[in-house]
């Protein structure tokens, strides 16, 4: 079985498009574009919101509400929105399936980014905040130059968790007739072509792992070494204190 899967993955005919059916290369691009769009929209909404809620302490109910959404079964919401929206497009375009998928993906990506950004700003010590204010910084300056950089590790862990959930759920969107790497899993299943199905699983897992690795590398370069404690010899990771928040953020890789 493993040899068959390897054979399926390394057959160049499977990578190219032919007769209107998309190959692996096209489906990877489709999968990534759906995911990227959703994460960017979620980031634009959740990051400023989390920063402001953390800075002012107002609107924390919103963070709680966003976290409650996590109890919803993603597949169910995806199907519900699809049957609500897709009939209006009469199957003329993919939009009837893309739109509900993107809505679900955005709502999935908001809670981890929002709650981690909020927790990150909250975790900045009162003494640090007082020192910044005593140096003459205005509220906005404290937020932009002190609280934001200090909360970057948690913001990144939220962003990574959101991205993984989006990549995972974009796979399930192929259960509706939609492109992406899940296509191989569901088509393989329908055709009882198990090398294709398992090969699709391998591709999704690799895409998730590589994306997380890339985001991890970006995080290393963006987060100040004064925060991550990544100095040459003595490393004191901040993991301990923040771990409770991270566990909260690590919900469902749906």
């Amino acid at each position: 079985m493993i040899a068959n899967v390897f054979h399926w993955l390394t057959n160049s005919a499977h990578w190219d498009d032919h007769n209107g059916s998309a190959g692996i290369a096209t489906q990877i691009r489709t999968h990534m574009s759906y995911s990227l769009l959703a994460v960017l929209i979620a980031l634009v909404i959740a990051l400023p919101l989390g920063l402001v809620i953390g800075h002012t302490g107002k609107g924390t109910a919103l963070v709680t509400a966003a976290n409650t959404l996590r109890a919803l079964p993603t597949v169910g919401v995806l199907v519900l929105l699809t049957v609500m929206i897709s009939p209006h497009f009469h199957g003329r375009t993919d939009l009837g399936y893309v739109l509900p998928t993107e809505i679900v993906l955005v709502f999935l990506a908001i809670p981890p980014i929002l709650s981690n950004t909020y927790a990150g700003v909250q975790n900045v010590g009162g003494a640090t905040r007082d020192a910044a204010a005593a140096m003459g910084m205005t509220g906005t300056q404290v937020l932009r130059q002190v609280e934001f950089p200090l909360s970057l590790p948690l913001i990144f862990s939220g962003l990574r968790s959101a991205t993984l959930q989006v990549i995972a759920t974009a796979t399930i969107a192929s259960y509706l007739p939609l492109g992406g790497l899940g296509r191989f899993i569901y088509d393989g299943l329908a055709q009882q072509d198990f090398p294709q199905m398992i090969g699709g699983g391998v591709l999704v897992a690799l895409l998730a792992l590589i994306t997380d690795l890339v985001l991890g590398l970006i995080q290393r370069n963006v987060v100040s070494r004064g925060i991550s404690g990544r100095f040459s010899s003595k490393t004191t990771a901040i993991g301990g204190a923040a771990s409770a928040d991270i566990i909260q953020a690590e919900v469902a890789t749906v």
Binding site: M1, I2, V5, G20, A22, R70, A71, L72, P73, T74, V75, G76, V77, V79, L80, T82, V83, M84, P87, G91, D94, L164, I167, A168, T171, I172, Y175, L176, P177, L178, G179, G182, I185, Y186, D187, L189, A190, F194, M197, I198, G200, G201, V202, V204, A205, A208, L209, D212, S243, A244, I247, Q248, E250, V251, A252, T253, V254
Partner: protein
């Protein structure tokens, strides 16, 4: 792209029973297909709960090892993080070749969910044991507790709040993940979504979809409440302190 048919569930239910397709008539749908729905609900219950129980049993010794030998903690954290990175639908289809099962084995979902639970709980158990104050451990040792008795009678009870927080996350996310397994044709509440999707052509037919969402949320909340209450019963001293 041509509209490919969704994966057929083993038993596609006819669009009957509940005459209305209104989303609010899910309860009439439930009553009309009571036997089938209850059977899917029961499958969903054990598929969500059992992997967490097995996962905890496996994670307890591993978490203890990670705490006892601190050099084990970073690699265990990396491995569990790596496993948690793999999307569920991918893990479901990768389990059979890795464990030598046939392509659609009834064990593939429980095994995949157990893997996730262990990955989450190893770290939770280690952090929970680390949350036990050092003075308490020393006091227990001074009172004559051996390492094993101290672990069972002192350290684990004090770690209950942290461990139960992890169990809540694992169980609630499992309820959603089991529904994902429904999309590859396995029997659970996810089948209600497949049924609803198939019956929604040419016009939307909401009852099974809404019923599935309602039952999944109710199940997640029930599990959550059960763990919270059990955790309270196991830690009576926390209420005593709060009451003062």
């Amino acid at each position: 792209m041509t509209a490919l048919p969704a994966v057929a569930g083993p038993t596609a239910l006819p669009r009957d029973g509940a005459a209305s397709s209104s989303p609010w008539h899910f309860w009439a749908y439930f009553n009309a297909h009571l036997h089938q729905d209850l059977s899917w609900l029961w499958d969903h219950v054990w598929l969500s709960a059992l992997p967490v129980v097995v996962g905890l049993v496996i994670a307890l010794p591993l978490g203890w090892l990670a705490r006892r030998f601190s050099w084990l903690y970073p690699p265990m954290l990396s491995i569990s993080g790596l496993l948690y990175t793999i999307p569920s639908i991918a893990l479901f289809v990768l389990i059979p070749p890795l464990f030598g099962l046939k392509a659609l084995d009834p064990l593939q979902v429980p095994i995949a969910l157990t893997v996730y639970s262990v990955a989450l709980l190893v770290r939770v158990v280690a952090d929970g044991l680390a949350s036990v104050p050092e003075e308490v451990v020393q006091a227990a040792t001074a009172m004559g507790f051996g390492p094993f008795k101290r672990l069972i009678k002192v350290e684990l009870p004090i770690a209950v709040p942290v461990i139960s927080a992890g169990l809540r996350v694992a169980t609630v996310s499992n309820v959603s993940l089991v529904a994902v397994a429904g999309t590859i044709g396995l029997n659970n509440l996810g089948q209600l979504f497949t049924t609803g999707f198939q019956l929604s052509s040419p016009t939307a037919y909401y009852p099974p979809i809404v019923l599935g969402i309602v039952l999944c949320v109710a199940l997640a909340l029930t599990f959550d409440l059960t763990i919270v209450l059990t955790s309270r019963l196991l830690t009576p001293w926390r209420r005593a302190v709060q009451g003062q």
